[in-house]
Symmetry: C2
Subunit: 262 residues, 2 copies
């Protein structure tokens, strides 16, 4: 039995008729993140790598920059609480927090599309390049690694790679959580995300691009489709956005100079 899943009794109906059987479903777990005694948010997540999720979320939301900023992480798996203490706790503006958290949510939020916020986001200027063959073989490796998805159809995967191999892979019921977990794991394990490649199994809306630019990751590969706003943002932030990788076919939406022949 694969981890982070449960076997539940179900009714299966098909041409052979009706029968009581059981099915594997993915687990969803409420994790509350407490930052310096302030209850920040409760995420629904896959109950694995929860320390990485907490750290990656705090990184994406701008509360921490690197490992040195973290004094202590304590995950209480019974109660569903991740408590992160910073070296130098700063006051959290509840009103800004409110806006940021909305922004961080799937399909909910657009805080960053204002001129002010776009200026705050860092443009990625890495010279990393990749060949189409490397993209195809990274995606093959990614698909092989996504076992939980294949088993349950219920999770998203994300990975940090160099041009040849996957360095860190995480999956989660939440598309954003999977990406946050990858960045969190990189921070905790001292793996640089700069100049590297991010793969996401999900669609690539605008916030994925922001997470990539945040981590100075110049190439974002998605199996699925981007939005027009995502393409605009990737263009503005210097991120090479590759989508719809199917077999030996792919579409490069922005900064295609990073896709080279050799």
């Amino acid at each position: 039995m694969i981890e982070n899943t449960k076997r539940l009794p179900v009714l299966r109906v098909n041409e052979q008729g009706r029968r009581k059987t059981d099915a594997v479903v993915v687990s969803e777990f409420p994790l509350t993140i407490i930052l310096d005694d302030l209850e920040l948010v409760t995420l629904l997540c896959s109950p694995k790598d929860m320390d990485c999720l907490a750290v990656g979320f705090l990184f994406a939301e701008g509360f921490i920059e690197d490992k040195r900023g973290i004094k202590k992480i304590a995950v209480d798996e019974q109660r569903g609480v991740a408590r992160v203490t910073r070296e130098s706790p700063a006051e959290v503006d509840r009103d800004i927090l409110f806006k940021r958290l909305i922004t961080s949510a799937c399909g909910r939020g657009a805080g960053y599309y204002s001129a002010v916020d776009a200026r705050l986001a860092a443009k990625v200027d890495s010279r990393t390049s990749i060949t189409p063959d490397d993209v195809y073989s990274l995606i093959e490796e990614f698909n092989r690694t996504s076992r939980l998805f294949k088993e349950t159809g219920g999770v998203h995967g994300a990975a940090l790679c160099d041009t040849k191999h996957i360095l860190v892979f995480c999956d989660d019921v939440g598309r954003h959580n999977a990406v946050d977990k990858v960045f969190g794991k990189c921070i905790l394990e001292g793996i640089s995300t700069e100049g590297r490649i991010m793969i996401s199994s999900g669609r690539t809306p605008s916030e994925m691009i922001l997470k990539a630019s945040n981590g100075r990751t110049p190439i974002l590969i998605s199996i699925s489709a981007p939005s027009d706003l995502g393409v605009r943002l990737a263009n503005d932030l210097g991120v090479t956005l590759i989508g719809f990788v199917r077999g030996r076919d792919m579409t490069v939406y922005t900064h295609d100079w990073r896709v080279t022949d050799v």
Copy 2:
């Protein structure tokens, strides 16, 4: 050219080589919802049925109960603002709002899993039933209707149905938005959701179940997979959860007494 999409220049790479061409991507639009002069949230959405989205969002979040509660709706498509004025504006508790909005987001939130919140959610006790053949033919109609998805791979669809046909169909870049639009359209057009059937193209995590129980919709059909928490919640709230409908094969996770042979 299909609505809510844009054609953008891209680099296509496949076995035929590299060529500059263009590709259709789905539009993503930031819509700010203002309720009685309070700026509530900015959603990233597909720029269609935005009045329905605003109303459906306010319904899902408990700010309005029906059409009678709405005095005026004004959508400014230029500025991306939907302003909804209620007949009897009530004070909005910012702290509760904060928690609710987090909960409403994809993969973010678990407010409802506390005992208190579960008690507040209404159990659906409708006697509506459906045959497997009706499920298969509804899903066929649903798939035919999802043109935008087929064209761009970037949106989710949702539909309200009786046992024979789709009554309301909406799509959106956000899975939750699509469902909110359907409920909003029902409220605005006076279509009862009670005792009816909801279809979602996306996964069915716990919040989908809450939206269904909110609308007293007893049957939720998904093409994709539920989570263990979603199954538990559907079980508790009296919702029949059908998933993984592929051809003439489906899995009934909860309350399978509503799936009848005739």
